[in-house]
Symmetry: C2
DNA sequence: GTATACTCGGAAGCGGAGTTCCGGTTCACG
DNA sequence: CGTGAACCGGAACTCCGCTTCCGAGTATAC
């Protein structure tokens, strides 16, 4: 319904920026980080500028379009997701592969549940999200996590990396719904999912 | 971010309507049914009117606001969901409780996956959806379905009715994402979920 | 200290989607 | 067949949020 278009990247944050510009840029990203998490894509540019203590003009100097700002915010999120995945891999290596896996999934789900923009992006921009996930090294880390758990015999063999974002995405949706209707417990969905991916699998997962 | 407001109900479709009015109303609902399913809430009123072969004025005569139209369409969906649930219950009674349950879940997931508006509504209007589900008798039917499978010992005891919409909702999100990025397979998510709800449960689901 | 280039801010512009309005048309009833 | 009430259609209106523009301000270099 909307033509696909590649929009220009946001102005990079090099060290040659003027000090005030750099400060404002950071304030903008921080404000957007919060507002996008709370209101999703509906968060308004004016509001973001206001919270950052900045005029809209300034906002648009740094991020030519709303989407660019969203990209910046999401890139930050992925950075943290990848970082935490690295820790989980170390834990798995140290001898607790299942706990490392479970812990990471639960943590990631909680992040997803607390960030409406991320949930939306996963659902409506999965293409770009995939690129970001690969670029940030997240995919590689998670793959290791899966391998460890499979070798330990606690994770079913036919689970693949691609199943993870799908699962995390689904949690986001439930969490969003749960925000208005308590009684939908996303933690139960995770628990069921974890039981479902535990070795040995009961049924055979539909192949490609 | 938007004030909650109860909007007036759509004009009822009584037998005292003029024939052309009734015809147009049906055409509108049919058109909306398709367009909402394909484009979600983004579907435009002008477009719906055009497809129904009707002017926007006529559309607004029957449905004072877009939301009223959406309600009408969704009510229809729930009617079918409940109907199919009834069939599943009969199948369960006939002696195939697990297959009845699994079959129904898979069917419902497919419906959810094919209807963007329904997915959106589940995620952003869960309150109203719950009311519709109870009103249409869907909840009662599904509850029976669960009971049958539990008594047969194939479904874990700690699964409750509320877990079903959460699961179906999560499928909707994955399906929406999968629409643009093939490789996200919602059928795998279902299979994993079904393994996770099979008796006996491996872990203990987080209680209320 | 002054020059200058870059940055700031917010009022105004713009476009798109839901909704309203009213003259023309059509159905149903006597 | 005639009449009136209900209905139809779509151009115009309104509202709202993203984006642009430019005069004023400010940090850095010399």
């Amino acid at each position: 319904m909307k033509p696909i278009e590649t929009n220009q990247a946001a102005v990079a944050a090099g060290p040659l920026m003027r000090a005030d510009a750099r400060r404002n840029r950071d304030a903008i990203v921080a404000a957007a980080y919060e507002l996008f998490a709370e209101y999703g894509t509906e968060a308004q540019m004016d509001e973001i500028a206001r919270r950052a203590g900045v005029g809209v003009g300034t906002l648009y100097r740094h991020f030519p379009a709303k989407e660019d700002l969203l990209d910046a915010v999401i890139a930050r999120r992925f950075g943290r997701l990848a970082e935490r995945a690295g820790e989980a891999v170390r834990q798995a290596t140290a001898g607790e592969p299942w706990d490392a896996f479970r812990g990471y999934i639960e943590w990631a789900a909680r992040v997803q549940a607390g960030d409406r923009a991320l949930s939306e992006a996963m659902a409506t921009r999965s293409e770009r999200m995939h690129a970001a996930a690969v670029g940030s090294g997240l995919v590689a880390e998670v793959e290791q996590l899966l391998d460890h758990a499979k070798r330990a015999g606690t994770l079913r063999e036919d689970l693949v990396v691609e199943d993870i974002p799908a699962m995390v995405c689904s949690i986001g949706a439930v969490a969003a719904a749960a925000a208005q209707k308590p009684g939908w417990r996303w933690d139960r969905v995770i628990a069921i999912w974890l039981d479902g991916v535990r070795a040995p699998g009961i049924s055979k997962l539909p192949g490609p």
